[in-house]
Symmetry: C2
Subunit: 252 residues, 2 copies
């Protein structure tokens, strides 16, 4: 059974403060726990039903502790509306320095993304398009927020993330002749503009776009043209815009 | 002031049954109420602060009833976590028959989209890419669900939506030589496949994709290739996939 203390620990991982202090994060749902097991991440605890355990007997070699329990107990501990048969407490991987060979690969840089669902979806998009690194500004939502983890659909285990001073990071990249792309309403048409195979693609905040101090470091301003006649939507959701941009960078 | 009965009516619009019975839906937030005022939709009630009213004095000609009240009362009535200065009760527009000239334009067809955020985001994408009609299967989430309305960021006032028997609709479209596109893992590469300017693009359910009975009516199976090396994400979020497809249809 899951002790009261374990349940308390699980639920505490909804708070950034507690995640920072423990260096842990929460992974919920059968598919996601399966992804955690298949990943290289160190796992502190897996709690699951006997049925789930029977499906993944190797899980006991992948975790420091495992507990078989019933669905009702998992439901009690869970932060999800529809809990499943397994959850895991996983050690965070710290990537202090952005890990990307920017002379040869494309990475995403996120300037103050606030919504956890958007960040998770962006990780999933990066994973799909073979982008290995996502660099976040210090004020971007915590990648280990449970809602980010769930929305990433497992991409969190594959895409490297790091938090950094975005201004410094872009400045030193520019000095190394790395092209920095960013979307702006007045940018050049992404469908006709030449796009390089390497560099940084900056995505901005949900409400305000790329911040002025970051905008001045963008060497290639691009835009996704609207095809709406007359008064149409003024913007796209940031994850949607990221997807269209990644698709354009990769398709050629 | 907003009477208790009005607050009850506002909150009842969170339930499909009550929306169906009254033919009304709820619009919240300054930007969204502004969009409602600018739209052709008939408005039953606007409740707002004196400040909001001062900004849009013409609103009283656009609504059957308007009430100035304080932020606290709006907060009480609101379904949002962060209510603003205005909300509106708006009459639904019923589009019984799909309205699209499929010989000349592209429309989206949604097969059992369940998540309101996804539906709202898809409407916003359609609006951006100048797609006038979104046709929903009968089991797709209600377009007047408040979460759909909010996620659409106003696109709900511009994109025509209708609910229909998807199987019948596609069958008759095929008989009229309308191309029907749909995304499948085994489909042809969307980046190299010729895409027509007119027709129907089917997007499938979040968990299961396009249902088998609809899949057999798809004349052009396409796919968005993954660029992930090794084991990557198995799928993209449906709104993200819709965005990439719409971008591809429009860019040429």
């Amino acid at each position: 059974m899951l002790s009261k203390n374990k349940i308390k620990l699980i639920q505490s991982l909804n708070r950034k403060k507690d995640r920072d202090e423990t260096g842990l994060f929460l992974v919920e749902g059968n598919k996601m726990v399966e992804e955690a097991i298949a990943s290289g991440f160190r796992i502190a605890l897996i709690a699951c039903t006997p049925d789930f355990f029977a499906q993944y007997p190797e899980l006991k070699h992948r975790t420091e502790e495992w507990i078989e329990t019933d669905s009702e107990t998992i439901r009690k501990a869970s932060l999800l509306q529809n809990p499943q048969d397994a959850l895991a407490i996983v050690y965070q991987e710290q990537h202090a320095e952005p890990e990307a060979d920017l002379q040869h690969e494309l990475c995403l840089a996120l300037d103050f993304i606030q919504d956890p669902g958007n960040l998770g979806t962006i990780l999933r998009i990066a994973d799909w398009f073979g982008i290995r690194s996502v660099i976040c500004s210090a004020n971007t939502v915590d990648v280990y927020n449970p809602k980010v983890v769930q929305a990433s659909m497992g991409a969190i285990f594959r895409v490297k993330t790091s938090y950094t001073d975005m201004h410094e990071f872009l400045k030193s990249s520019i000095e190394n002749q790395v092209p920095v792309y960013g979307t702006f309403l007045e940018g050049k048409n992404i469908y006709t503009e030449p796009l390089s195979r390497n560099g940084i693609l900056v995505m901005g905040n949900e409400g305000n776009g790329i911040s002025p101090e970051i905008a001045q470091l963008v060497s290639h301003k691009i835009s996704i043209p609207s095809f709406s006649s007359g008064k149409g939507s003024e913007s796209l959701n940031v994850a949607v815009a990221a997807a269209i941009c990644c698709s354009e960078f990769r398709r050629r």
